[in-house]
Amino acid sequence: MALLDVRQITKTFGGLVAVDNLTFHVDEKQIVSIIGPNGAGKTTTFNMITGAYRLDGGEIYFDGQPIHTKSSQQIVKAGIARTFQNIRLFKSMRVIENVLIGCHIHTSYGFFDAVFRTPRFREAERRAHQRCVEILESLDLAQYMDEDAKNLPYGLQRKIEIARAIATDAKLLILDEPAAGMNPQESEALMDFIFSLRDAGYTILLIEHDMSLVMNISDYIYVCEFGKLIAEGTPDQVASDPRVIEAYLGKGGAYE
């Protein structure tokens, strides 16, 4: 059974059909990519999966449970966490505080525990901090824990967004253009990083424009154009699919 099962979802903005009857699925412990030209509806799809947008049609199942009727909070709790195309870190917060926000839903104590510093508060805070330190260490980010998120270079900010997503205890990480703005070396390092996440047991759904990254990393690829699925398959299949070549290079173009 697929971990994420997206069935015929549709989203319209006024007259524009941004996502049109889109169906795809993501199997456990795989790296699946969604590619397509600008405005294809990729980010909109992510926004629907994470509950930022309501669906205008279709269903989404995660781990066998319907999630399209749930709030973003419930979806995060169910085990889906994301990063954003234009980084959305909490700018004035330190790196570790950003990751702590990821842990937030698992940090359980009440207001009075906080005011009176009860043992329950101390234990929950200790555990949350411990976990965040471990996540940062495992991603080689521990040396930046004191920095304000806004002061770090772009590539690091993207990694910290991933750390924050991991902190939610998500099973499925959905990454919206993680390599955007990275140089070739950085995006190569990102590739190893995403492999290591997969090996650590995460399932990954990603949107990416960097073709060499997508072709090297993905177990399976879905190609969208104007909100519709135009092709799918393994990297090799997709690379030789004439519809994909046409979508990317226009009619008569050739794929090298």
Binding site: Q73, V76, S92, M93, Y109, V115, Y144, R164, T168
Partner: protein
């Protein structure tokens, strides 16, 4: 080369206890220095405004929603205190509790009115809210005594002794309330609640996508703000013995907002600094008469030019303090040792 800068927050953190003790001893000595009761009253107003500024910071500093009607919550507290004292015969302590409770309700109401709004819409709503509160205070004559206000609020008492400005009693009540308010606020801020507030301020949608129930936190912020403003209002009513609707005008809202900005938004020490400066300066400059406002505006403009984040705004220790029992990762050991 690394530039070495003085790490103010780190310094204060390292010598926290001795610094605090010295400060407390100095503050406790003030009423015994033989100062005129006018000067002691200025101190009491510093306490009042400090609490108000902290209160405003929960909405404006931490949650990032500019309120231009904060005097309304202050007003609610003052009227609750004054009415509890004159109508129900409550003592100051019961009145304070009542004012905090009603303050929570008023803050909650403001929160409910503004929960779906942001930016200027939220600000305009706080203005309207303040207008409504003033109208009620002016026109609900049977309860509030209208524009005449409430006179002869009885003096506070403790174990039979009257607490006044002259004998220092009200000074210590004010100082005690401020310390209470500081303790409470710093506990809230240094917990998941404080983190959530700042996350909502930095990026509300982002916070929601991380699973935070952002509206609950916004509501909590306004409730806390109402509670603290209520506390300050009730204290003020007992301090002066007389309140009327004009006492809680738009000017007061702007004063509190200016204090918060001058001191540095989202900073508890900054709140006190802002309140102290903007309470004491106008008093010192009284001889300049109306020209003091000119002087005042001038200082503010210069200040905003040189240090727009406020006196103590964005002052952070170089290092984040991990809770007891969590080891600092080896990779982060070098970081910020002497301030970076």
């Amino acid at each position: 080369m690394k530039q070495k800068r003085f790490d103010l927050a780190g310094f204060a953190g390292r010598y926290k206890l001795p610094l605090l003790l010295v400060l407390l001893a100095a503050l406790a000595a003030v009423p015994f220095l033989g100062l005129s009761s006018y000067v002691v009253r200025v101190f009491c107003m510093v306490f009042t405004y400090s609490i108000l500024t902290i209160s405003l910071n929960f909405v404006t500093g931490y949650l990032g929603a500019t309120s231009m009607g904060h005097a309304s919550l202050y007003c609610v507290g003052a009227y609750v205190g004054a009415l509890a004292a004159t109508r129900a015969g409550c003592n100051i302590w019961v009145s304070l509790v009542l004012a905090v409770l009603v303050g929570c309700l008023a803050g909650g109401l403001l929160g409910v009115c503004t929960i779906k709004l942001s930016g200027s819409y939220m600000t305009v709503t706080t203005l309207a809210f303040a207008q409504v509160v003033t109208m009620v205070a002016k026109n609900w004559t049977s309860v509030t005594n209208g524009t005449l206000g409430i006179k002869d609020i009885p003096k506070a008492r403790l174990l039979g002794a009257e607490l006044t400005v002259r004998n220092g009693g009200m000074y210590f009540v004010g100082l005690g309330l401020l310390i209470l308010c500081l303790l409470f606020s710093s506990m809230v801020i240094r917990s998941k609640y404080g983190r959530a507030f700042i996350a909502v301020r930095d990026d509300e949608l982002g916070a929601r996508m991380m699973g935070l129930k952002t509206r609950n936190y916004r509501l909590l912020g306004t409730v806390i703000s109402g509670a603290l403003a209520g506390l300050a209002g009730c204290y003020y009513a007992y301090l002066t013995g007389y309140i009327d609707p004009v006492t809680f005008s738009f000017d007061i809202s702007m004063t509190i907002l200016t204090m918060a900005i001058l001191g540095g938004l989202a900073s508890l020490p900054g709140s006190i600094a802002g309140a102290a400066i903007l309470t004491v300066f106008p008093e010192l400059l009284r001889s300049l008469d109306v020209y003091r406002y000119l002087f005042f505006g001038f200082i503010l403009v210069i200040m905003m030019r040189l240090r727009p984040q406020g006196i103590l705004g964005s002052v952070k220790a170089a290092r984040y303090t991990l809770p007891k029992g969590v080891l600092r990762p080896a990779a982060a050991m070098e970081q910020g040792k002497e301030g970076t």
